[in-house]
Each structure stands twice: as structure tokens, then as C-alpha cells.
């Protein structure tokens, strides 16, 4: 190596060392819970991480993707099951591995989890699951703690961002010490609340290497029968392990009421009833019953305050402990200081507060809508026009179920639309054309096996793949159809037409989602085709990866007949003008938000919508 190269080399490594020092620095700064989870995993030396995006878990993998690729291989997987399998593969290889998902993602990934709990781990395996109490952006509010109990894997429940970091780090230790996958459970509130977090350096760990032990790693009946008793032993050992002041924190206080609490409910309890004796659990399964019993004996009355299902309360009842909980606190919805205060009031612990008469105001209903220029709009205008029976799916486009598009008849779970359409067809009496609408990423996630099923079982349905080149609902993540990785690097791009043909579909056409006439025409032809037909509507999301803003449109008021056909698009840029025609409002376009998609101009019967310029 010549001198210059040597200098360059040392310069580079010098920079690298500085960057490394900065990464490892012990600082205190505000982080959302998801960032803290990612940081905790990185500090624990995680090397393989995979996820499918899902609110409120999405940012975990995005933050992991900001750490150097040499530290952690972070990736978007096609669905949660694949992500779980990738993480399990990492664990098999002897490195620490993580997967993150929303609560309903665990349903998809539950198959490998139920096996892996028997198999155990080689490198630490952590599964972060973010629940959504209050159903801010989900299809249900299932409680992951029940899943943890079902799979017999420990579940750690941080109550703030600092604990999110600490517990994630702990989770890897527990995983390796007890030979078990560990679930770290977050909730929307924790995942998206920013609070101060003190960071630490990354602990680099040598890969353990593959553990050549087929009796452990190959879960056939003979091996599973050996594994199940080990799982039960593990449960007992873990319960004893959590019987520790660091995990199950006993906060002395007024003993007229003792509160046992976990997760963010702890923060609400401290807010509303700070003086009560409190037992703060780090893990709600398995429970350290000895310590809990001692706490319960030290107080006059025991209250369990936990969000959603009575997981801890039921376990206490089973252990013969007289605890109150869901008699006062709902199993439905998200907790808040108000909810906890109301429960304590009902339980006779707090006095009834002074209630103010609410202000007499009428806020405007503001349901979420598809964006100005959203390419999904056309597909739903078209399915309305053909009077389709529409099986919908999960994504932004589910918003087409409500006014004014009102074009979706069912929505179940990721990828369900196509299977649902097959069933609707097989029932044999549907007179309207049966159409499944599914987004690009949702199709890759769970639609492909169903499409093959439709072809194989000769269903006469039409599938519309709404390809907007992104996972839009969760804020714009890449997927195999975008040709980019989590880290933004170019990679193989799935071609939807090729994919669909490979599944055996004989009629497939890709159309521009901004060409209303072609979408209508193609859909009609597709419906005419006997058997499975696929229409791919193609246009990028207007928000991600780049915010699209084209020349805006304008309504020529003198030509507007106030028919309000354009209002059927539900475009937030189109509203009423003050000008009326015979008792009807003419329309106007907000040029600051209009992106110039021209859909309104294409459907305007009086042709009075034109580009604003010229």
C-alpha cells in the first residue's frame, strides 16, 4: 500500500472510530418508545432484525435501519411470519435476533412462534409486539399477553421509553439464559410517546455458531414430546426469576389500597393515586406469585389495574388471591388518567371530582379521507360503476368503505379479500360481479396463496391490485414491489403482471390509475372474462416516497352546474364555493392542496374543471 492510500485508510478508520464513539455515547435525549426499543436491541448486540410494517410498530425497524449495516442486518420482510422465520434463522445461527410487529401481525407469525417456544433459542430471540388499545389504527384490540400465555413465552411490558430500552436489552439476556423467545409488548401510547432516555454503548457479541443439535432444532413429534416438559419447567424458573425487586418493584405507600399494575397503566396510577402502595410488574407472564402474595397480604385491599384483558387479575384469582380489577376498569379501549380516576371513583377509593358542564360547541366531524390525488380513488369509482360486490382488504384504501365512495363490502385481515371473493363466488348466488381489491404490499403479504387458490379452484372473480408502489398506510415503507430495501438500496423488483401470470391467471392488464376511462373499460373487460382476471392499477402514492405536487386544477364557475359529481371522489381539495346555482353549491378547488391528478376534470359532466394556469 502506498503512503497516500495508508493515510486515506487511517483517515477513514479515524472517522469510523469517531462515528463509533458517537454511536456508543451515553446521552440522555427524548425518544419515542419505538426508537428506544430499537436502541435497546442495538445495544444488546442484535445482528438480524426483520419486520413487516404495521402501526404502531413500524418505526422500530426504521430506527434499526439507521444503525450501521455492519452492526445489524435490518430488513422489511414480506409478512410477519416470514419476518419471524428470518429472526428465528438468525437465532439458529447463534446471533441475537429481533422481529417487530403490530398485535395482529403476531396472528400471522404465530405458527412459527408456537414451534419456537418448544425449540428455544441459540442466539437471543426477541419478538416486539405493539398492541393498539383504543384501536387507533387496527382492526381489533387483541391483547398480546394472552398470546404470550398461550405460547408460554415470557412477556415484558415497559411503561415508558427508558424501560422500553432497558427491557429490550434484558429480553435478550432472559432469552439466552432461559432458552426461550421473549416478547416485549408495547402499546400505541408507549410506542409513540417521546420521553427522556439514557443510552448506553453496544455490547458486541461473538456469534455462537450453529448449534448442531437436531433433537432441539428439528421439531418432530418425538422431539416435541421431550420439549414440552422443558417449557413447563422454564415457566416455573422464569416466575422465580421475576421474583426480584428489579423486575417486580414494590413501592411502599398507603396500605389501605395496594395497586398491582403493569405497562403504561403504571404511569396513570402514579398520576392519579401516587400515595398508594404499588407493585409494578415488568412481566405479566409468568407471574412471581410469592412476591405478589406477600404484597397482597401487606395491604387491606388489592386492585389490579391493567389495560385490556384481565391477564394478571385472572392469574391472581386462580391463585386464590382476592383481587379486584375489571369490576371497576373496562376491558375495552385505551386507559388514560381519566379512565383510571373514574375506575378508582367507582371502586370508592377516590372522591367524585368536580364535573364541569362541557362547553356547548359543535366540532366538525373530520374522519380520515383518501388524499388529494390518491390513485386508489379511480378503482373505487370503477367498482361502483360496475355495481360490484367488493371484498376489500387492509390499507389506506379501506377508507373507500365510507362516504362518499362507499364501495367496499367486506374487510377482514391482510390478504383476506381474494379468499373472501372465492367464497362469495362459491356460495353460488351472487348476481353482481365479484371483485377483490387489494394493495400492492398487502397482495405480496397475504394475497398470493389466495390468488393461486382462486385459479386452482376456478373462481370467476376479478382481482384489482392497487399498486401505489409503497406501504402507504404505515407512512411509506418499501416492499418487494418497490425494488428498494429498508436501507433504500436497489434490489430485485417484483413485477406484478409476471407474478400474476405465474400464478396461472390468463387475463391480466396494467392500467394507469389516473386514466378513469381505461380503468372503467379494463374492469368491464376483466369482469366479462370467465375465470380469474386481474387489473393492476398503477400510480405512485402521492405522499411517499416523494410528495407529489403538480399544477393545480380550477373550476370555471360559469360552467359549473352544481351537480357535485366531483364530490363523489371524496377529494379533500374539492369543496363548496359560496356561489350557488338554484339552491345548490357550486364547487371550488383548493389550489394549495390540489396536486393536479385531473380525476375531477375527467369525471366532470360539464367539462368545467381545467388546469388553473392558462
Amino acid at each position: 500500500m502506498d503512503a497516500e492510500a495508508q493515510i486515506r485508510e487511517s483517515g477513514a478508520s479515524h472517522d469510523e472510530a469517531a462515528a463509533r464513539r458517537e454511536l456508543n455515547a451515553v446521552t440522555t435525549r427524548p425518544m419515542i418508545g419505538n426508537e428506544a426499543i430499537a436502541r435497546g436491541a442495538w445495544e444488546a448486540g442484535v445482528r438480524v432484525a426483520a419486520a413487516y410494517p404495521g402501526t404502531p410498530s413500524t418505526e422500530i425497524m426504521e430506527f434499526l435501519g439507521e444503525f450501521p449495516d455492519s452492526d445489524v442486518k435490518a430488513q422489511w420482510s414480506t409478512n410477519e411470519k416470514v419476518a419471524m422465520d428470518v429472526a428465528i434463522g438468525g437465532s439458529f445461527a447463534g446471533v441475537r435476533a429481533l422481529t417487530a410487529m403490530k398485535h395482529v401481525g403476531l396472528n400471522v407469525a404465530s405458527d412459527p412462534l408456537m414451534s419456537q417456544t418448544y425449540i428455544g433459542v441459540n442466539g437471543g430471540l426477541v419478538i416486539v409486539v405493539c398492541d393498539d388499545p383504543g384501536i387507533h389504527s387496527s382492526q381489533n384490540e387483541q391483547d398480546t399477553r394472552l398470546f404470550a400465555r398461550f405460547a408460554q413465552v415470557p412477556v415484558l411490558e415497559p411503561s415508558d421509553a427508558q424501560e422500553a430500552l432497558d427491557y429490550t436489552r434484558w429480553a435478550f439476556e432472559i432469552s439466552e439464559q432461559f432458552d426461550t423467545p421473549v416478547i416485549v409488548r408495547s402499546t400505541t401510547r408507549l410506542s409513540h410517546t417521546r420521553s427522556p432516555v439514557t443510552t448506553g454503548p453496544r455490547v458486541e457479541r461473538e456469534p455462537l455458531g450453529f448449534n448442531d443439535d437436531p433433537v432441539k432444532n428439528v421439531i418432530i413429534p418425538a422431539h416435541a414430546r421431550l420439549a414440552h416438559p422443558r417449557v413447563l419447567e422454564r415457566e416455573a424458573k422464569l416466575a422465580a426469576y421475576f421474583d426480584d425487586p428489579d423486575f417486580t418493584r414494590w413501592e411502599e405507600g398507603d396500605t389501605t389500597v395496594g395497586v398491582i399494575t403493569v405497562s403504561t397503566a403504571y404511569a396513570y396510577v402514579k398520576e392519579v393515586l401516587p400515595e398508594a402502595a404499588t407493585l409494578k410488574l415488568a412481566a405479566s407472564y409468568p407471574l412471581p406469585m410469592e412476591r405478589i402474595r406477600a404484597f397482597c397480604q401487606s395491604v387491606e385491599r388489592v386492585l389490579v389495574i391493567e389495560e385490556l384483558e384481565p391477564v394478571v387479575e385472572t392469574a391472581l384469582h386462580a391463585a386464590g388471591i382476592a383481587a379486584e380489577g375489571k369490576a371497576w376498569f373496562s376491558r375495552v379501549g385505551e386507559f388514560s388518567p381519566e379512565v383510571v380516576r373514574d375506575g378508582l371513583t367507582r371502586a370508592g377509593i377516590l372522591e367524585v371530582g368536580v364535573a364541569h358542564e362541557p362547553w356547548a360547541v359543535t366540532p366538525t366531524m373530520r374522519p380520515p379521507v383518501l388524499c388529494s390525488g390518491c390513485p386508489h380513488t379511480t378503482a373505487y369509482m370503477a367498482v361502483r360503476a360496475v355495481d360490484g360486490r367488493v371484498a376489500g382488504d387492509i390499507g389506506c384504501y379501506t377508507l373507500a368503505a365510507v362516504d362518499p365512495l362507499k364501495a367496499i363490502d367486506t374487510c377482514v385481515s391482510m390478504g383476506s379479500s381474494i379468499g373472501n371473493a372465492v367464497g362469495l363466488y362459491k356460495a353460488g348466488h351472487e348476481t353482481r360481479p365479484i371483485i377483490a381489491t387489494i394493495g400492492d404490499s398487502t397482495f405480496l403479504h397475504g394475497g398470493i396463496p389466495a390468488l393461486i387458490d382462486a385459479v386452482y379452484n376456478e373462481a370467476d372473480i376479478t382481482v384489482m391490485i392497487l399498486d401505489n408502489h409503497i406501504v402507504a398506510m404505515t407512512g411509506g415503507q418499501d416492499h418487494p414491489g418497490t425494488g428498494k430495501t429498508l436501507r433504500g438500496e436497489e434490489t430485485h423488483r417484483i413485477d406484478f403482471e409476471e407474478m400474476v401470470r405465474a400464478c396461472g391467471v390468463r387475463w391480466v392488464r396494467t392500467v394507469d390509475a389516473y386514466d378513469v376511462a381505461s380503468v372503467y373499460q379494463s374492469l368491464r373487460e376483466a369482469i366479462e372474462h370467465r375465470g380469474v382476471s386481474v387489473v393492476v392499477t398503477n400510480r405512485p402514492c402521492v405522499l411517499d416516497p416523494v410528495k407529489i405536487k403538480g399544477a393545480p386544477m380550477r373550476v370555471r364557475a360559469d360552467g359549473c352546474t352544481a351537480c357535485q359529481s366531483c364530490m363523489n371522489l371524496g377529494c379533500p381539495s374539492i369543496g363548496w364555493s359560496d356561489e350557488m346555482l338554484d339552491g345548490f353549491h357550486k364547487v371550488t378547488i383548493d389550489e394549495s392542496t390540489c396536486i393536479g391528478c385531473t380525476l375531477c376534470a375527467q369525471i366532470c359532466p360539464s367539462d368545467c374543471i381545467r388546469p388553473a394556469a392558462g
Partner: protein, 302 residues
């Protein structure tokens, strides 16, 4: 037990609300950074998900020596900062009754939902309450057209910073901290306009404080006069079945989707209650088979 007694002083609560894309999260981040500079613990909680899709956005910012709950209990916000008028009304009950400050941009972002009823003579369902009556009711706070102040400075997007200027007058943090944090947050090329916007917000409050409340209220916009109710109108839809060839154009183009082809392939009105009498079907029918009358008819122009 009295749940309100606490050893550490209660945290201060600022609730920031608006509509997706307005910068609610950015404003709350600025506030959180300023609180941190004072050595206070800060929790800032928001809910993502629907924010980008035109829904309401809210961010709870709580700060003090110790903060437990990430959300502000109802009736305990010391300041409610509304970047959109109706969103302010939505969260009004979170404002403290004893001296909470309501800071509201009077800007209205009217959602498509407000135009849901397209019937003859129907009106927007956007909140009818006007700044004057609401400020009179709440008693303390500021309603201002921050967007106009920002536009006058040459950058409509700096409305957030105008509101930060107003907020800075409601909280007792050193003004230099505000200036430095804002300078460190906004894009470099927008530094100057945001500096001006921040000072404009502060100056506006300064000017308002010099004016007695009654006068300030008088100058705020009042409720728009109720539009004259329109004379009732009957809609008569008629189709000449012999002329209809079932081309389907009217069915496809009806904005209210209240037409269909019957089993003789003749168009018919399925839902007379939904028909607004817009006449699109009449105008588009290639066979002049449809006639829509609005009785009494429109007066001829001129």
C-alpha cells in the same frame, strides 16, 4: 384518599391540536426542546396513523420536575394551542377551567365530510361557532388569523411560528431559548421569515394586551348571519320508457347513484329521496328520454 395531592409539583400541560400536515408535531417538538433546556422532564405523546389522511392530529406535551402520564387529563391543559379552528373546539373541554389559555388560529380547514349532504339548500356542517362567542365563553386566550399574519410576511407556512410566538407569551421560558430552538429547527433558507413570524406572534399578543378584553372581543369575527332559507322545491323525475335504449350513461354518471336499469333495461329512479335534481341524467341522455323538473323553476337571468 385524595388523588390530587402530590409531593412533587404537578406538571404543566400544553395540548397542541390541528389537522394532518399543519405541523402539530413540529410545534410540539420545539416546545419539548425548550422545556428540556430548562432541565424539566418532558413527555410528548401523539397518535400517528390517520394523521396524514386529513384527520385531526393532537400532541400532548407535559413538563415538570416529574411527569407520569403521557396524556393530559380532561380539564387540565394549561394551554390549548389550536392550529385549526374546529380542532380547537373539539379539544376545548381539555382546557383548565381556572385560567387555562386557549390560543386558536381562526383558520378553517373544512373537510369533505362537512359537504356530505348535497340536497337542495343544504349547508356545510362545519362548526358554526365563531371566534367572538367562543372567546367570550372561555374568557382567556387569543384567537388570531395566524395564517394571514404569516402570509403578510411572505410565507403562509410560517403560521406555526406565529403561533409559537403567541405560545411563548403564555409560558414563562426565556425568550432567547425560544429564538435559539426555533432557529435550530426550521430550514436554513426559511430562518429569517420564521424569526419575523415568531416576533410577529409576540408583538400581536403585546398589542392585544394593551386593548381591553371587551374591545378585543368586539373586533373578533362573529357568527355569520344565517343564510335565508330557500323556498321549498319539488323535484319531478320522469322517463319516457319507449325512448330509453338502456345505454346506462345516466346510471353511471348519476352523482347520487340513485338510478339503475330495471329488468326491461330501462333507467329508473331507485331512491327518490337521494335525488337532488341536479339534472346530469337529463343533460347526458342521448335519447332525450329523461326529464327533471325543479318546481318552481329557476328564474331566468337578467
Amino acid at each position: 384518599m385524595d388523588g390530587s395531592s402530590q409531593k412533587t409539583p404537578a406538571p404543566r400541560n400544553v395540548l397542541i391540536v390541528g389537522v394532518g400536515g399543519q405541523g402539530v408535531i413540529l410545534v410540539s417538538k420545539v416546545l419539548a426542546l425548550i422545556c428540556q433546556r430548562q432541565g424539566l422532564e418532558v413527555k410528548q405523546s401523539e397518535v400517528h396513523g390517520m394523521a396524514k389522511r386529513g384527520g385531526g392530529v393532537f400532541s400532548h406535551v407535559r413538563f415538570g420536575p416529574k411527569v407520569w402520564s403521557p396524556t393530559i387529563p380532561q380539564g387540565e391543559a394549561d394551554v390549548l394551542l389550536a392550529m385549526e379552528w374546529s380542532e380547537g373546539l373539539r379539544w376545548l373541554n381539555h382546557l383548565r377551567r381556572d385560567g387555562g389559555t386557549f390560543i386558536a388560529d381562526t383558520r378553517r380547514i373544512v373537510p369533505p365530510f362537512a359537504f356530505r349532504s348535497r340536497k337542495y339548500g343544504s349547508r356545510s356542517s362545519y362548526s358554526p361557532e365563531a371566534p367572538r362567542e367562543v372567546m367570550e365563553m372561555v374568557g382567556s386566550g387569543y384567537a388570531l388569523d395566524a395564517s394571514r399574519i404569516a402570509t403578510d410576511l411572505g410565507e403562509a407556512r410560517a403560521a406555526n411560528t406565529v403561533l409559537l410566538g403567541v405560545l411563548s407569551m403564555a409560558l414563562d421560558f426565556p425568550v432567547e431559548d425560544w429564538r435559539e430552538v426555533i432557529a435550530g429547527t426550521v430550514p436554513a433558507k426559511a430562518l429569517e421569515v420564521n424569526r419575523l413570524a415568531f416576533e410577529a406572534g409576540r408583538d400581536w399578543v403585546e398589542a392585544m394586551r394593551a386593548i381591553p378584553l371587551a374591545e378585543r372581543l368586539r373586533d373578533l369575527p362573529g357568527r355569520a348571519a344565517e343564510a335565508e332559507s330557500l323556498p321549498p322545491k319539488e323535484i319531478r323525475f320522469a322517463i319516457t320508457a319507449e325512448w330509453c335504449k338502456g345505454c346506462d350513461i345516466c346510471v353511471k354518471m348519476c352523482p347520487e347513484r340513485c338510478l339503475r336499469l330495471n329488468d326491461q333495461l330501462v333507467a329508473e329512479l331507485t331512491d327518490p329521496a337521494a335525488c337532488t335534481g341536479c339534472r346530469i341524467c337529463e343533460w347526458l341522455c342521448p335519447d332525450f328520454a329523461i326529464r327533471v323538473q325543479r318546481v318552481p323553476a329557476l328564474e331566468p337571468v337578467g
